[in-house]
Symmetry: C2
Subunit: 331 residues, 2 copies
């Protein structure tokens, strides 16, 4: 399989799950102190991950938890972020300019900052109160943090069972998804390699996935134009531009908003013949209990889209690491 290092991916997910003790210790400390709100703050890809985790929490918890875009925080601001608030960030490079500037403002409020940073000793490292250094797996780190907050809030009784299953089965289950999605990924890449525009539609923890997959992968890394739209919003405008040949991919997950995407998937065949449905339900996830599948649907989807990416990069002879402008120009 193209661009697929099974051992490395297994170790990566297992290693992320092994951060649990550290995450629990930090979250337990934060909970013992109390807080008036939790703000997942990001920009670009980390903003999308923030959308996902906040949707996850809202579905089962009454914790006051919000998404904050770092650049909006720097301009419009948010007066509710105070010394009693918790701000959670993630950064691959540890040097994103908006995040550094935003944390300067956050620090002035004396809010507590928990940072997941992929590399040690980054500029952001010096600005967070609690740091977890580990590469990749941003969404998993966010969800592990969220789950501990909910467990401590009495809203996740199956927490121990859930993580016992995840630790035992998730790394291999995601490997198996990639293997079984490889041919589908190749076919989708072949079919859409010349698209002038591609629509991605999703809901729940898949909405952030469509947002970041469209913008941070197809636009940024494959240089193909996209739009991402929430499945519920699809019916309030976007549907009118769909015709036989419009390229559309629907991400269908298994969380509480599944029905919103099923509605799009059911409607599309009447007006379009150039669509794809990626339904996480089609993948086995050996060892994972049915009631836990919704909370990892976004990871399953990511495993599928990794196969699309590997083939699209290859077919289009367009290495995903090249950028025309990002960090190449001053702006």
């Amino acid at each position: 399989m193209l661009k697929f290092d099974e051992k490395k991916q297994l170790d990566s997910v297992s290693g992320a799950l092994a951060l649990r003790g550290k995450i629990e210790s930090i979250v337990d400390t934060l909970c013992s102190r109390g807080y008036d709100g939790i703000y997942f703050m990001g920009i670009g890809g980390t903003y999308a991950s923030s959308l996902q985790v906040v949707c996850h929490i809202k579905g089962q918890s009454s914790i006051p938890v919000y998404v904050e875009n770092a650049a909006e925080y720097l301009t419009t601001g948010n007066r509710r972020i105070s010394k009693n608030s918790i701000v959670i960030i993630s950064s691959v490079t540890g040097s994103t300019s908006e995040m550094i500037e935003a944390l300067e403002v956050v620090k002035a409020t004396s809010a507590t900052v928990l940072g997941f940073i992929d590399v040690p000793n980054s500029p952001l490292s010096t600005m967070v109160d609690y740091e977890v250094v580990y590469p990749g797996n941003e969404q998993l780190k966010f969800f592990m943090t969220a789950d501990r907050f909910m467990f401590n809030n009495g809203e996740f009784d199956d927490y121990q069972k859930y993580y016992a299953e995840m630790e035992k089965y998730l790394p291999q289950a995601l490997i198996d998804v990639e293997k079984s999605a490889d041919d589908f990924g190749k076919q989708l890449a072949k079919k859409h390699k010349d698209d002038t525009m591609h629509y991605f539609v999703g809901a729940g923890n898949q909405y952030g996935a469509t947002y970041s997959y469209a913008m941070c992968y197809w636009e940024e890394q494959h240089w193909i134009k996209t739009k991402s739209i929430h499945s519920a919003e699809f019916f309030h405008g976007m549907l009118e531009i769909i015709e036989r040949d419009t390229a559309v991919t629907v991400f269908v997950g298994e969380d509480k908003e599944r029905s919103l995407s099923e509605r799009v998937a059911k409607f599309l065949p009447r007006i379009c013949s150039n669509f794809n449905i990626i339904d996480t339900k089609d993948y086995e996830l050996k060892g994972i209990s049915p009631e836990f599948r919704g909370s990892i649907s976004h990871l399953v989807m990511h495993a599928v889209t990794q196969r699309i990416d590997a083939h699209l990069e290859n077919i289009n002879c367009h290495p995903m690491e090249i950028r025309r402008y990002y960090r190449c120009l001053d702006y």
Copy 2:
């Protein structure tokens, strides 16, 4: 001028501003009772207006105010909406199915609902605790409500001066914007009538404007494909697909996020020659104090885009009232 009834538009805005006494009385009652949160709930265009008003409030207030998408509320839910919460909605038809279903759930929580409905005696009328019936001007109604909440919270000292100016000058100022934007609208419509895809970029109270203008106007009413993106997010992915001929329009407003859009406007000429900048600062707004312009930038932008719409409809021989699917098919 095409599709322009000066008297009707003047009366429409003046009439909306004249709702102030009624809105103040409702908001004052709600404030005297106290509340734990205000939720602007919408879908499609009303979701976009909710984004705008919540951004407006966040910029100057510590009131706990949030956007809630009606369909997400129906699936993922929001356990924080309680009997002490205020839910604010708006509806043109008073019969949008997601809104009716969402209000049924809201009513079960005993939250208080304030509804702005364009027509009397609609299905939604029977479900709200406080109703204001008046056609159009959704954003103005939302902002008037927001401003009274902020005034009562001690966060809008200039409230009386602001509304005195609005009542005296805003209706004519918006008419003047339309008149001076008419030729620009015609040129933009001519230049982009055949676009296969058009990007709209904006921030602050213009982000909701780009979202709804792209989806509810160009996609739904002109049948032209679009993407809308927040100016801050533009630099985290989308910029990579911009080339010389990519069609991009940037909405630049005058609120706190202006700098985010100025950054896009400044960068674009280096990589693209098919862009448009619509800057509300280019319009006079006679009688409106400089410090108040930011709060009405979205109305100024709407006046400009109305001129684009009038010409695009005419040039493309595509009546804006026709729909292929919306309310034409069951889905």
